[in-house]
Amino acid sequence: MLITELKAKETIASQLGSKVFVIFCHGCKEIRFPEKEADDLLEELTAAGKVTGSITTDYICDPDQLKLRLEKFAAAIEGADTILVASCGVGVQTVASMFESKKVVAACDTYALPGFQGVTPLEHDCKQCGECYLNLTGGICPLTACSKSLVNGQCGGCKDGKCEVDPGMECGWERIQKRLAQIGRLDALKAPIQIRNYATDVNI
């Protein structure tokens, strides 16, 4: 099971552009989603005239299903510069890989609880670390995409774009570098130095 909690309002606000499409995932039955807080946030953003559209759905970790559900919102998504996703880390990564040229913002931190993960992670994984990094990395999780789970950039072990530890795996930080360049967010690489807080990680 897992719990998602909204990040601080200021943290979310600092990530948003002027036009936002909002996706809420009420998830799977194994998840606790901060419904009230998220609804309040949507209300505020709507009042500020920022929202081009929104959808509340479930299982956004399933890309095929999500694509179908978003079809009717094509214009609203097109008109947004940012997609705000309130879900677990798998959901955010799924949306980020679907809209490679948009800025996709994680609204939540994901914490683990014992029991089923309760998601359908096909190609993405969320460590439920409790301090989501996806806003610093263009929606690619450095904990699961990097063999060493590095949070401050690439090590020296990238060869031909692959990880020297597992040549079947692309270097996560090479992917992050390319994604940030693609969405014009290379400034994210100048974020303050990151030190993980294992106290938020109930898996440790």
Binding site: S147, K148, S149, L150, V151, N152, G153, Q154, C155, G156, G157, C158, K159, D160, G161, E164, V165, C171, W173, E174, I176, Q177, A181, L186, L189, K190, I193, Q194, I195, R196, Y198
Partner: protein, 292 residues
């Protein structure tokens, strides 16, 4: 002596590296360093290099220091969490080791204990930041140190010939942000690529030592091309190593190749770092041939 003082004086800084033994007798490492490396500025001591378990870097550093050399303590984040790393740094400072090189470290799967738990609690960037905190008299938990704070020359690494050079430059910038004062590079065999890299890296304003490996044979060069990230030996060098097996075996061809790279890159960097990989005896000849 902190080697940053030498960079500040405009000196071209030459370092080499040695690896502690897999055992308790380090006398041959110390003897070789005394014989072949006493003419250079400082000697890096690796920290369980390539994730292969050996004697620790710190005791070997102390042995070299007692023998009159200036050691550089390499410190990786693979085997120790933030508590152990800070503890090691305090111990190093107490023992008079004031030059360090901060690395993330190879993954445990690359070494001789592939089942070991990889730690990576910190990484090279957050380790550099941690060192700066200790220098201010505060640990990473925000607690004050008792008495005098340590002071180190803080080094880091970068891979200029990586096929992912933009990501390397981004990481280099974060290391500078975190407090890196000098850089040593992964081995360079393509001077042109290094010079292009330095064009971009000079904006950070930190001294960079060119990384050099003396290629021992065509086989070694091919092995590195296949297996070592960030290292690429051009075909013409492999051909030169293969052409005259006698000269290659004696090390002459490899030393000539390394000397040529140093000469070509010298105007663009502030020092050279030699990874002799067991060929420490060739270092004096290499430096002579390179005109250093």
């Amino acid at each position: 002596m902190r080697i940053t003082e030498l960079f500040d004086n405009g000196q071209f800084v030459v370092t080499a590296e040695v690896g502690p033994p897999k055992g308790i007798d380090a006398s041959h490492v110390v003897e070789e360093a005394k014989e072949y490396l006493s003419g250079i500025t400082a000697v890096n001591v690796t920290d369980n290099q390539s994730s292969v378990m050996r004697m620790g870097s710190l005791p070997a550093c102390v042995m070299l220091k007692n023998a009159g050399l200036t050691p550089i303590l390499q410190l990786t984040c693979r085997d120790r969490n933030r508590i152990a790393l800070q503890s090691e740094l305090l111990g190093a400072a107490a023992l008079g080791i004031d030059n360090i090189l901060c690395l993330t470290g190879d993954h445990t799967k690359m070494g001789d204990h592939p089942g070991a738990k990889p730690v990576f609690d910190l990484d090279s960037v957050s380790l550099l930041h941690t060192v700066c905190q200790l220098e201010k008299g505060v640990d990473l938990g925000g607690n004050e140190l008792v008495g005098e704070a340590p002071k180190f020359a803080k080094g880091a690494v970068v891979s200029p010939c990586s096929d992912s050079v933009d990501a390397q430059l981004a990481k280099m910038e974060r290391k500078v942000m975190a407090g890196a004062e000098y850089f040593q590079t992964q081995a360079v065999f393509d001077s042109e690529k290094f010079i292009q890299f330095m064009e971009k890296a000079k904006q950070f304003g930190k001294p960079v030592q060119l990384g050099v490996i003396i290629p021992k044979s065509a086989g070694m060069a091919k092995f590195m091309n296949k297996n070592v990230a960030g290292v690429h030996v051009p075909q013409e060098m492999i051909d030169a190593l293969a052409a005259d097996k006698e000269r290659a075996k004696a090390g002459i061809t490899g030393v000539e190749i390394a000397a040529k790279i140093i000469k070509e890159c010298r105007p663009y960097c502030q020092g050279v770092h030699i990874m002799a990989l067991g060929w420490e005896a060739k270092v004096p000849q290499l430096l002579e041939l390179a005109g250093i």
